[in-house]
């Protein structure tokens, strides 16, 4: 008799990276590197990447410090970006000091800041700090402090 052993299904473990459209790569690059210390880890240019050439895009990759890329900024050379398909994305600060540093830098660059989680129904653990701000293309970014860090 043959015993059928069902194969284990592959499932998603976690969010890994997020690629957002921007209208001015240099302006956004300055914003993200200055505010979060993100590292510019790679460039895919339409003059030297076949995929980018076909898609008519240029992509700049940024790392949080372990993976090759975590946030990517992409400029579409023919289409105009907007804020009509994403409400926000949130970034977890490395620790309490990092959260304070980001908040301080946001003040220094004059970025208007809103305290708390962006979505009222989002879960917040007791004492957890969060604030939100908008990037140069009006993408909402939420900064979260993870408890116990």
């Amino acid at each position: 008799m043959t015993v059928h052993v069902p194969q284990k299904r592959i499932v998603a473990a976690k969010l890994q990276h997020h690629v957002i459209y921007v209208s001015d790569l240099q302006r956004s690059k300055d914003f993200y590197t200055r505010l979060f210390d993100l590292q510019f880890s790679a460039l895919n240019h339409p003059d030297s990447s076949a995929a980018m050439r076909l898609a008519q895009m240029e992509m700049h990759f940024f790392s949080f410090g372990f993976y090759h890329h975590d946030i990517c900024l992409v400029k579409h050379h023919k289409l105009r970006m907007d804020n009509g398909s994403m409400l926000h994305f949130s970034l977890v600060a490395r620790d309490r000091l990092a959260f304070d540093a980001i908040r301080s830098r946001a003040n220094q660059i004059g970025a208007p800041v809103r305290d708390g989680r962006l979505i009222a129904s989002a879960r917040t653990s007791p004492g957890q700090r969060a604030f939100c701000l908008r990037d140069p293309d009006n993408h909402w970014i939420e900064i979260i402090e993870e408890q116990g860090k």
């Binding site: 890994q16 590292q39 990447s49 076949a50 050439r53 993976y67 975590d70 409400l87 970034l91 009222a120």
Partner: protein, 225 residues
């Protein structure tokens, strides 16, 4: 719920999706890049890796919220394709940045990431649900459990058997045959359009600060190719 059949302008047409696997062939990439090669722009606008060498102030992405036309339709897609689980769906609440508008949020969890994805129905003051434009993000990516090449390839097969067609992949974002497409990052990936044409990547085996150094040492840019 009635949905509008809108295809965002950045969606890859089906006939181009058929050609996309050719990006794994070096001759095809050379053909596509022939004009900038002849004009030498290819060498002044290089696609290259710069490496990862120090921590930033951010540890990880916490959550992404995307607009959808129909929470139930989208929830089912993420549950069936890749095993996201439903955490909770909330009552309508005020939109955080548009006066008079409302949102309704469905929180989805991955195996190791609670409430990582929020499916959001946005309604204008008249109660009409917004149609996502597709032009805020190019894609968002989930790491598959196991985080290896074999898991991504197994997932691609699993999805195909379940009736889901990838719009690109499986490929590896580097120049190594047989999967390499000449891009950067090293991740093995396949991409699917969700019911609102959000491009969703499922990946594993991305380069890290550790294997980056092991592979390239002190070499930078074109010296690594």
């Amino acid at each position: 719920m009635t949905t509008v059949a809108y295809v965002p302008p950045n969606v890859l047409p089906p006939f181009l999706q058929k050609f996309a696997p050719l990006l794994k062939r070096k001759w095809f990439r050379a053909l596509v890049l022939a004009p900038p090669t002849l004009t030498r722009r290819r060498f002044s606008n290089k696609t290259e890796d710069y490496g990862v060498f120090r921590p930033s102030l951010i540890e990880r992405i916490g959550q992404v919220s995307i607009y959808v036309q129909d929470i139930d339709r989208s929830r089912q897609w993420y549950e069936k394709l890749v095993g996201l689980t439903h955490s909770r769906t909330c009552e309508q609440e005020p939109h955080p940045s548009k006066d008079g508008w409302t949102i309704r949020c469905c929180y989805m969890s991955a195996a190791e990431h609670q409430e990582c994805l929020v499916l959001v129905e946005e309604r204008n003051p008249a109660g009409k649900v917004s149609v996502p434009t597709g032009m805020s993000f190019f894609h968002t990516a989930f790491e598959l459990q196991g985080n290896g090449m074999k898991e991504v390839l197994a997932f691609a097969g699993q999805a195909k058997r379940d009736g889901y067609a990838a719009n690109y992949g499986p490929v590896r974002h580097n120049g190594e045959p047989p999967l390499g497409d000449g891009e950067t990052g090293g991740n093995v990936a396949c991409y699917f359009y969700d019911p609102d044409y959000h491009n969703i990547e499922f990946c594993g085996a991305m380069d890290t600060i550790e294997n980056y150094r092991a592979r390239y040492g002190e070499l930078k840019g074109s010296a690594r190719s």
